[in-house]
């Protein structure tokens, strides 16, 4: 079987693929973050007693916003960076596969 054709980096389809992949990743990460960020005030609004439960002296909602929210964001950004760097490497790999760099347009 023939190896798949090297994509033309100046073609519409290549750009489309590039942006779609990266945007999909960004949106997935942003959605996780926004659910947590916008969900919290809703919990405060509809379940005030639950959110006022004491945990180590903190109210639950204070503990989440004041302390636990930061690590959550770190985890999301760590996953994003790992995936997006992997994506970029895959893209470079696809374009340069089996071709001398002099071939560039």
């Amino acid at each position: 079987m023939q190896p798949p054709e090297k994509p033309d980096i100046h073609s519409e389809s290549f750009l489309h693929m590039l942006m779609q992949r990266q945007l999909r990743l960004s949106i997935a990460c942003a959605a996780t973050f926004l659910v947590a960020l916008f969900g919290l005030p809703l919990f405060n609004y509809f379940a005030p007693e639950l959110m006022a439960t004491r945990v180590f002296g903190f109210t639950l909602t204070w503990l989440i916003v004041g302390v636990l929210f930061f690590p959550l964001v770190w985890i999301i950004s760590w996953i994003f960076i790992r995936r997006s760097i992997a994506l970029e490497e895959a893209e470079v790999e696809e374009v340069t596969r089996g071709n001398a760099p002099t071939d560039r347009k």
Binding site: I9, H10, E12, L15, L18, M19, Q22, L23, S26, C29, A30, F33, L37, F38, P41, N44, Y45, P48, E49, M51, A52, R54, F56, G57, F58, T59, T61, W62, V65, G66, V67, F69, F70, P71, V73, W74, I76, S77, W78, F80, I81, S84, I85, E88, E89, E91, V92, V95, P101, R104
Partner: protein, 596 residues
């Protein structure tokens, strides 16, 4: 008359003086190394991830973060926690959507990006105006921080003729001129090192006193426990107060003054900060909750999107070697500032229990805004000088805070003037040497402007001023950057309309609430706002309507003017999104040059 220096606490003076001297000395030292124009504007695009993330964090953590957040948590309670959280989490949006592409595009400043992306010199001018506008807005609270802190340090000095204390303006002039000198000498490369070091000074200054205070006066959780339980509003069950009473006894809490909010509204969501408008309209606690929720959401949007649209932060991303480094830097920034932001609320919580007399103070360091500087002094009773030493350390941190943010703002504003206005608009044929000379003159002009503005803001709240700058950035720059990097059909007219409408409308809305509160002639507006709490909430926190409005305008107008989409848009999008290893950037620049 008292002897001159005996009236000043030696520890506070020493630590603050060291911070200032180190800043100036490092500025001079690195000034010698800054030679080329690129050094001045983007530090030669070669700052490593470690240095750059410390520098961005150092630049970002301003007087508002260092002093304002603690003060606001003390005065408003839970609702104020959204400030530190969103200040830190805004970087995630920057990381997910903007950091990488912006760096790949390879411009010097945001106006460069605006012009390059839309092939429109007019758009550069609009973008420059916004850089200066947001920049000056943001310098005002830093100047206020400087004036107030210096007045605090020298509060007991007696001059000839029995005049006591140091006037507010002295601090503004002193700190303003020191930083202006630093920026003029070293440019971006000069301040990168300074800001990186200042991050670590701030981190040390905010955390060490907390650990000492917690070891003496019990930990964070116990202090919160002392603010008795019970969720707010009608649906309260009969909560048991026995555990809270025990903890309260262990903490030896001082009686709260009448000006302090009650425990119940302070510790629970939807407290005094977000219900002000509804309370003014005379609504009951249950009725005011929807307004409060609305306020909370709008505040979150302004802070998160505003972070991703602040020009002085964005310009820093150009100092990274490439897009991957830009992403890594953002991640580290989130870690560095996230760790930092755990601490200021602790000051607020402990201040409420241990130093409630601050509630009675007026604005400035005598009020809750000064809790970070004042709180360590409670150790003086038991441990003598330890309290003064720690207070000296937090003063040094405050100095580092407003100095580093001010220098960052000054670099971005000076860059806008020297690079965009002089170098691109007024004299496009000027040599690099002339531009560098111009950078120095512009630094002095911007510094003087900031000092002048600083005189007028003594009575304003630090955190509020910063909040405005965020709201304006969130409704102007953020939608521009977001759509320009991800939507190929945006046109210059669409982008400009959306940005101008979003920015000016949110500014007008905010300014109208300020006028209603402070100006005598706006009495009618005040009465109207009092009877319309919904309008008041939306005007005070405009992001929730202004951001969608800006985005919608950008999309609709771009659709109407679709023939004006730049011809080489595919190439531009490719440069923004393709990995650098494909070598597209160089190609783009060559093609571009041949085209001219």
């Amino acid at each position: 008359m008292m002897p001159f220096l005996a009236a000043v606490d030696p520890w506070i003076l020493t630590f603050s003086a060291i911070t200032v001297v180190v800043t100036v000395a490092m500025g001079f030292w690195s000034a010698k190394k800054s030679k080329t124009a690129s050094d001045f504007f983007v530090a030669g695009r070669s700052v490593s991830v470690g240095w750059n993330s410390s520098a961005i964090s150092g630049e970002y953590l301003s007087a508002a973060s260092f002093m304002g957040v603690a003060g606001m948590v003390m005065s408003s309670g839970y609702d104020a926690l959204w400030y530190p959280v969103c200040y830190a989490c805004g970087y995630l949006f920057l990381l997910l959507f903007i950091a990488g592409p912006l760096r790949r595009f390879g411009a010097y400043t945001i106006p460069d990006f605006a012009e390059g992306r839309f092939d429109s010199p007019i758009f550069r001018k609009i973008a420059v105006i916004f850089v200066l506008f947001i920049g000056f807005f943001y310098t005002m609270p830093q100047m206020k921080g400087a004036g107030v802190t210096l007045a605090y340090i020298f509060k007991d000095i007696e001059w000839f003729g029995g005049v006591k204390g140091l006037p507010y303006w002295v601090g503004v002039v002193l700190v303003g001129s020191v930083i202006t000198l630093n920026v003029a000498l070293g440019g971006m490369k000069g301040i990168t090192l300074v800001q990186a070091v200042q991050y670590w000074i701030k981190m040390f200054a905010i955390s060490l006193p907390i650990f000492v205070l917690m070891s003496v006066h019990s930990h964070y959780g116990n202090h919160l426990q002392a603010n008795s339980v019970k969720p707010a509003v009608g649906m309260i069950s009969e909560g048991d107060t026995s555990t809270s009473l025990e903890a309260a006894a262990a903490i030896n809490r001082k009686a709260l003054s009448e000006k302090a909010p009650k425990d119940e509204t302070w510790i629970n969501p939807f407290g005094p900060l977000t219900t002000k408008a509804a309370k003014a309209a005379g609504l009951s606690a249950a009725e005011s909750r929807p307004y409060s929720l609305l306020y909370t959401y709008s505040l979150i949007i302004a802070l998160v999107c505003g972070t991703a649209g602040l020009p002085h932060i964005l310009v820093r991303f150009y100092t990274n070697p490439d897009g991957v480094a830009a992403k890594r830097t953002t991640m580290w920034v989130m870690i560095l500032i996230g760790v930092f932001y755990v601490f200021p609320p602790v000051f607020g919580v402990m201040g409420r229990n241990l130093m409630p007399e601050l509630y009675n103070g007026l604005a400035g360091v005598k009020g809750t805004d000064g809790v970070v500087l004042n709180l360590p002094l409670i150790l003086t009773e038991k441990y003598g000088t330890l309290g003064a030493v720690l207070s000296g350390i937090t003063c040094a941190g405050a100095f580092a805070a407003f100095m580093s943010t001010f220098s960052g703002l000054l670099v971005s504003m000076t860059g806008a003037l020297a690079h965009d206005i002089y170098g691109r608009i007024l004299r496009p044929k000027s040599t690099p040497e002339e531009r560098m000379k111009m950078f120095k003159y512009c630094a002095v002009i911007c510094g003087a402007g900031a000092i002048l503005l600083g005189f007028f803001v003594e009575t304003f709240e630090i955190n509020k001023l910063v909040g405005w700058a965020f709201a304006i950035a969130a409704t102007s720059y953020f939608p521009l950057l977001f759509l320009a990097t991800w939507w190929r059909n945006i046109t210059m007219k669409g982008a400009a309309t959306g940005m101008l409408a979003g920015g000016t409308l949110s500014l007008t809305a905010i300014a109208s609430t300020m006028l209603a509160d402070q100006a005598k002639w706006a009495e009618g507006l005040k009465i109207w706002y009092t009877s319309h709490p919904l309008a008041r909430t939306l005007a005070e926190q405009p992001a929730i309507w202004a951001l969608p409005l800006a985005l919608a305008l950008m999309i609709v107008i771009s659709r109407l003017t679709r023939s004006e989409v730049p011809a080489d848009i595919r190439m531009k999008m490719l440069v923004l999104h393709a990995p650098e290893k494909l070598g597209l950037k160089q190609e783009y620049i060559q093609e571009h040059q041949q085209g001219h």
